[in-house]
């Protein structure tokens, strides 16, 4: 089995937001519905203060609360595939926001409008692209979120190169490729020899908000230890 996870090392992250920008370009997310966000906050008391940076995107939970809520409402727009990636089908989504209400991480983003990039002018090539991946199809009044760059991972699956996910750029989420400090790693946690497995063990990376029982597939190395 392959279970794809991401590790984010907040000890290495210095808040440059390269991952946020890369995600915006790769996935065409809109400012009102970002898929990747940098949390920034201070801890401590003067003179012993610290600035903390934590990027957040979908946690691709093993037991996703968003999917449970969507299924309970009867829409079944959210799925979790065999690689552990949680995806939203925009054709099935009715925009009820039950997933928004249940996600403990505040991940699902309701996109209430699809605005033209340059209003009053011709649409750009990005906006008129016909062969856009379904996860990049922009539709008003649906919920969007990070897909672990499924449009890239899917190519690895289709070409039988799952083993290369997280190892070569074309099969690795773009946010993880651009980090200048190597604070983001992506790969298969079921492979005990993978970089993510080794990193999680060595740096004691942990999931956040475990009390919700959703079992996230994004691990964090946190300065303050586990929380």
């Amino acid at each position: 089995m392959t279970k794809l996870v991401r590790v984010i090392d907040t000890e290495r992250c210095f808040g440059c937001r390269s991952c946020v920008a890369a995600c915006a370009v790769e996935n065409h997310f809109t400012p009102d519905a970002p898929w990747n966000v940098m949390m920034e906050y201070e801890t401590g008391k003067y003179p012993h203060v610290a600035r903390n940076f934590v990027t957040m995107n979908c946690q691709h939970c093993e037991e996703p609360a968003c999917k449970a809520a969507c299924d309970a409402a009867g829409f079944k727009a959210i799925s979790k595939n065999e690689f552990g990636v949680v995806l939203i089908d925009y054709e099935k989504c009715k925009g009820c926001k039950y997933c928004v209400a249940t996600c403990p991480y505040g991940v699902p983003q309701f996109n209430d409008k699809v605005a033209q990039l340059y209003p009053g002018k011709e649409k750009t090539a990005y906006e008129t692209a016909e062969r856009r991946h379904p996860t990049h199809a922009k539709k008003a009044n649906v919920v969007e979120k990070c897909t672990f760059c499924w449009h890239k991972l899917e190519k690895a699956v289709q070409s039988g190169q799952v083993g290369l996910i997280g190892k070569v750029p074309e099969f690795t989420p773009t946010c993880d490729l651009v980090c200048p400090t190597g604070a983001r790693i992506f790969g298969d946690i079921d492979d005990p020899n993978s970089t993510v497995s080794e990193y999680i063990t060595r740096k004691r990376a942990t999931q956040i908000k475990k009390e919700f029982g959703t079992k996230p597939q994004v691990y964090y190395v946190l300065k303050g230890g586990e929380y």
Binding site: E42, F75, I208, K209, F212, G213, T214
Partner: protein, 127 residues
């Protein structure tokens, strides 16, 4: 002496009744299990529209059905600075020119985890 005793008892009874009337009325406790079952079986009608705004199913269940006050779920303002929540910047939301405070999802756990009165969304078991 007998008259004095009767007057005293009368005054005591009057004060007691007045004190009872002054006590604020508390909302009738709701049996969450029963309400939850009634909603799921369709015996308690909470609307068909799955949507978040008031007067739709979500709020009908929580405020009308269960009698939860607004501040039972919504905080006054936003989330704390160090709280890891992606949509943190949205709060307090503006709805009809009013601030709608953030909802800490921990409040949902009581009913929406295994063994709770509501649908199970969180894979933990209530003790």
């Amino acid at each position: 002496m007998k008259n004095l005793l009767i007057i005293s008892l009368g005054l005591l009874a009057a004060f007691s009744i007045a004190a009872q009337a002054a006590e604020p009325k508390l909302a009738k406790p709701v049996n969450l299990e029963k309400v939850g079952k009634a909603i799921r079986s369709g015996k308690l009608y909470v609307g068909k529209t799955y949507a978040m705004p008031e007067k739709n199913r979500f709020h009908n269940i929580h405020d009308t059905g269960l009698g939860l006050p607004c501040n039972g779920c919504h905080n006054v303002g936003g989330y704390p600075d160090d709280y890891l929540f992606l949509r943190k910047a949205e709060f307090p939301l503006q709805v009809n020119d009013e601030d709608v405070g953030a909802v800490h999802r921990a409040k949902c756990l009581a009913c929406h985890s295994k063994g709770g009165a509501g649908r199970t969304f969180y894979n933990i078991t209530q003790k």
